[in-house]
């Protein structure tokens, strides 16, 4: 079976041929398998946003190919909308894209563009709204009356309602309070689990990536620095720090403990796993002292 997303030798140059041309992506190749939850990290300006807007053909590669479900999306440029519905993209600060009179209509904008019938649109809007915790009262309100966090949820619901096979989110939790953050990311994870949607999450928060992603893609200056399972990536903490990135706080603690001579694994990146390793270490120590 072909990969959900396959990027082949992708290069992208901004304002090519002009004096201010700059290379945003340089010969990037990788694959994402169906149903995975991928985290994308990298310092500001490393090309994360440029990369993800290639997935649904917002950016057209200067060189290379983007294949979704084994099809080159630029094989027939007139057909690009089909891939825009297959790959749902939530941009940074998506609340600025709201425009309709009511929240309901705004969420329905994507499905309506797909040419679905009324009933199907209604079903999808209600499903997406329920997932994002949008109540009937909010559905009837104007999107401009809502709070920042609510607007964000509406915007995300607007993309979820298209029920894309691949969901790409560019910092969906940026600028939200900790509770709003956890709620939104939790809802995305639930959606991922229930629908099996391939999900790509761009984030600056290592904690969030550690909590949700199966695999992590690390970008640095338009190149792929690492692409591996979450545990393996966070085990390479010194390299990540050298790239101007960070590791989850709990990983930092464990690395420091290792430096102090404790025999614990280097790939601890979530609290539950940390608790398990600490308990295991304690058990062996007690077992040892009993001898």
């Amino acid at each position: 079976m072909s990969a959900a997303v396959k990027i082949e030798h992708l290069s992208y140059i901004y304002s090519e041929g002009m004096p201010d041309a700059s290379v945003a992506l340089d010969d990037v190749s990788f694959e994402i398998e169906e149903g995975q939850f991928i985290g994308v990290i990298g310092s500001t300006g490393c090309g994360k946003s440029t990369l993800i807007s290639h997935f649904n053909g917002i950016n057209r590669p200067t060189k290379g190919h983007v294949c979704i479900d084994g099809e080159d999306i630029w094989a027939n440029p007139k057909d690009i909308r089909r891939f825009r519905f297959k790959v749902g993209l939530v941009f940074q600060y998506p609340e600025y894209q709201l425009f309709e009179e009511t929240v309901y209509k705004d969420i329905a904008f994507g499905p309506a563009n797909m040419g679905l019938d009324e009933q199907e649109i209604d079903r999808r809007v209600r499903r997406a709204a329920e997932f994002c915790g949008i109540t009937q009262r909010v559905l009837d309100a104007s999107p401009f009356e809502l709070s920042g966090g609510q607007k964000r949820r509406v915007a995300i619901a607007g993309v979820l309602a298209m029920e894309p096979k691949i969901l790409v989110l560019d910092e969906p939790a940026a600028g939200l309070d900790p509770e709003g953050r956890d709620t939104i990311l939790g809802q995305i994870k639930t959606w991922h689990k229930e629908t099996g949607t391939t999900t790509i999450l761009v984030s600056h928060s290592m904690e969030d990536i550690a909590k949700y992603a199966d695999k992590v893609l690390v970008l640095n200056a338009g190149h792929i620095a690492m692409y591996d399972e979450t545990a393996k990536v966070f085990a390479r903490a010194p390299e990540l720090l050298a790239l101007g990135l960070s590791v989850p706080e709990v990983t930092k603690v464990f690395l420091r403990l290792r430096e102090m001579g404790l025999d614990i694994p280097a790939d601890v990146y979530t609290i539950p796993y940390a608790v398990k390793t600490v308990l295991a270490a304690k058990a062996t120590r007690e077992g040892g002292s009993a001898c």
């Binding site: 941009f91 600025y96 894209q97």
Partner: protein, 271 residues
């Protein structure tokens, strides 16, 4: 697509054209435009074109940029050219005749002169905006219009409005691109579909754009008030514009060229 709009786009450099006093530059540009119409004969336009090409050469602005500023007005040039070509009648025999269309030698000449004049006009004014940053430009306009404040014209306020408008053009263009991308991601047909579909697809772009423009205006007003902005009265400037010797010399050179363009009328009657 939107990045091609070059009005008010500054191309930084260090040439004499760039460093010239902006007030002198504005006056010279106005004089140049006037001369384009006064010296509207083959010789006068030839001098104007060569002079402008020379200035572009000195300021080291790439040809591509000039082409980009002329591209949007090509339809207008083509439209006027066609009208001139077929609607003007000459005195002699027509060169070409078909149905109701007649082309005379005079109309060909006039068409070419008209086209060159429009191109020079756009390229000439673009030179001003390429070599002068918008902020400096409005500063100079404020200075030039200062005498009018005696007549209770709000010169400072007008200049501030222009500065703010110019300052926000790139921001709003960027914002428009972002919103367009977001709507495209939801299947809005902005880059494909029939003309009618595309016009309808603009609504989801324009509404968020207006809302964000109003929001920005509110924020800016608040920020200005926080810094005690109270209009032009008693306001001092960080950068004072001062006329230097070089400005006078370059200004005089341009003036000589303009006089030459004007004199060309003596040999060729202006059309």
């Amino acid at each position: 697509m939107l990045r091609d709009i070059t009005i008010g786009q500054h191309f930084p450099g260090n040439s004499p054209v760039h460093t010239m006093d902006p007030r002198v530059k504005i006056l010279l540009t106005i004089a140049y435009i006037v001369m384009l119409f006064i010296g509207s004969n083959p010789l006068g336009l030839a001098i104007s074109t060569v002079f402008l090409a020379l200035l572009y050469g000195i300021s080291k602005i790439p040809l591509k940029l000039i082409a980009r500023s002329i591209k949007p007005i090509l339809p207008i040039i083509a439209f006027t050219a066609v009208l001139n070509l077929f609607l003007l009648s000459g005195s002699g025999e027509p060169l070409f005749q078909w149905w109701i269309f007649r082309i005379y030698p005079e109309s060909i000449e006039y068409t070419i002169i008209m086209a060159v004049r429009i191109i020079c006009l756009i390229a000439g004014t673009s030179l001003l905006t390429y070599t002068t940053s918008p902020i400096v430009l409005t500063d100079a306009i404020e200075r030039l219009l200062y005498p009018l404040s005696r007549l209770h014209l709000p010169v400072h306020e007008l200049a501030m409005m222009m500065t703010i408008a110019l300052r926000f053009i790139p921001t709003l263009i960027e914002e428009t691109e972002k919103i367009m991308n977001a709507q495209k991601a939801r299947g809005a047909q902005l880059d494909s579909g029939t003309l009618k579909q595309r016009v309808q697809a603009l609504i989801p772009v324009l509404i968020p754009l207006f809302i964000s423009a109003f929001r920005r205006a509110d924020e800016l007003a608040m920020a200005m008030e926080c810094r005690c902005y109270h209009g032009g009265e008693g306001r001092t400037r960080l950068k004072q514009l001062r006329l230097r010797a070089s400005d006078v010399v370059y200004g005089l050179i341009c003036a000589v060229v303009f006089v030459l363009i004007g004199l060309s009328n003596l040999w060729f009657p202006s059309i």
